[in-house]
Symmetry: C2
Amino acid sequence: MIIKKKKYNVVVVGATGAVGRTMVSILAERKFPVEKLSLLASSRSAGQKLSFDGREVTVAELGEGSFDGIDIALFSAGASVSRQYAPKAVQAGCVVVDNSSAFRMEKDIPLVVPEVNPHAVRKAPGIIANPNCSTIQMVVALKPIHDRYRIKRVIVSTYQSVSGTGQKGIAELAQQSQDFLSKKTIKNEVYPHQIAFNCLPHIDTFLDNGYTKEEMKMVNETQKIFEDDTLAVSPTTVRVPVFYSHSESLNVETENPINIGELKKLLAQSPGICVVDSPENDEYPLAIHAAGRDEVMVGRIRLDLTHPKAVNFWVVADNLRKGAALNAVQIAELVIS
Amino acid sequence: MIIKKKKYNVVVVGATGAVGRTMVSILAERKFPVEKLSLLASSRSAGQKLSFDGREVTVAELGEGSFDGIDIALFSAGASVSRQYAPKAVQAGCVVVDNSSAFRMEKDIPLVVPEVNPHAVRKAPGIIANPNCSTIQMVVALKPIHDRYRIKRVIVSTYQSVSGTGQKGIAELAQQSQDFLSKKTIKNEVYPHQIAFNCLPHIDTFLDNGYTKEEMKMVNETQKIFEDDTLAVSPTTVRVPVFYSHSESLNVETENPINIGELKKLLAQSPGICVVDSPENDEYPLAIHAAGRDEVMVGRIRLDLTHPKAVNFWVVADNLRKGAALNAVQIAELVIS
């Protein structure tokens, strides 16, 4: 679905959350042609003011009439809000870009990463789903490799920051870290265990097959985005005591043999990727460097010594930007392109 | 080399370091039959007092005559100290258990993890090498799997704590975390980049093949310990902002098909392993729980959905204990057994 106007009425649902706030600033940064920006949230957050492009916008409460006259709605308020309100927004004539997991695996709803499958946007009946953060940065890095060498199997272990859980995750890591350093008792409310100075091999809930939902998102969303059920992903997702940006350690096995020099060039020339790979100068992608940046950073690119057609590398991106808000705004840009 | 006495004169070289201190407490905890304990360090640390089994022992300066009358020397003062003094200790009639990388890959020097290859101790000419921390906990978990299913290939990503760098690593993480939370400027002296709230895909120096020395230790030491050059390890080693215990995400491919129920039982019955694997109750191995414990904790055990003969699991151990000091004392126990 492509819409064409000079300027658009845009709404951000879940505007006061970590991703929602980032959506608002990215709309301004990228000079999205906004006629009017409405910010919506639950009654708890309504009344807050956020700045957009130098002006103050008051957050309103999400309700039945919220989408009248709106062209594009960016949703980031959780799956249940999306399930309830995204269809209403579509009925009101809106194109919805949804950052929740609500519609991602629905057959008729495209799941889009603009660097990978921009064409899928055209098939949208009204809702376009934004993939999960850990999937987005991985598929941006995999795309040129799959095109050139054809990927058979990916084994991935993640190092995911607490901002993926939202502002409450950020607050819990800060509070626990401070309490730990002051030798006070650690309280945990957001995570099932202390996250400060610890690693939790547990993101989202566990399924019967022993994998978490977060892990199965990486499996299923990757196949849907590449429209390729043979692309196998074996994931372990881990929360680490980092505020912003997710890091991922990937082992990628391909159908065709890889030339490592060619691969590095290929990645460096691919849209949305920044290769940072000079280990001799201590240069490789780092969470603290990726935070606030748009690119997916790739480094530590090296042949797997144990397999003739496999490579290892390290992928880092800002989970609130490319992993969520930026990707959603990029989808909206495709919608109006 | 096996020696037999009622009690032994023992020396710890590098006694004031993070591993050295742990060696001293483990010797007491395990009631190692110590006649006299001498503690040695560089001139900078000589004169410090450490408590051993309720008594105070003054740290002396390491020198030429340090090993006269000593039966067993535990070295943990870095490779160059080991290269200089371990041969002198052997000449003085000592059995040396060396925690540095100095002799690990030397053909005639056994590299021992008591749960895996205790027999190798008998071949020792005087020096027995203690493997690297990240290798030890991995091979303890791999041993029963290799015996039963025969391992072909391991893909491992690590989450290693700063205590692996010693007390200066611990101090740097604490200081940087405090400075970050207080919005002060972060200084880094020990690591090439900020470690607080960040992950560094860089441990030890980089080699020409794009891997770090730490990574190649996991490759080469594992093959030596299992006496099997066909056991292939593909590693990515990462420093994370955790004080104690290393975590590891493993993907293990075997020659023979794995029954997951049988595998869990097998691991639970194996020496040195504690299976913690009730994800439905949020129970899995955690760095904060492994710290101070002797066992290698294994959990998140599940079949790899992308390969008919592979499993994923999560391994956590106290890097100062099983990863260093405990393993060294266990080797000394084999020497006198």
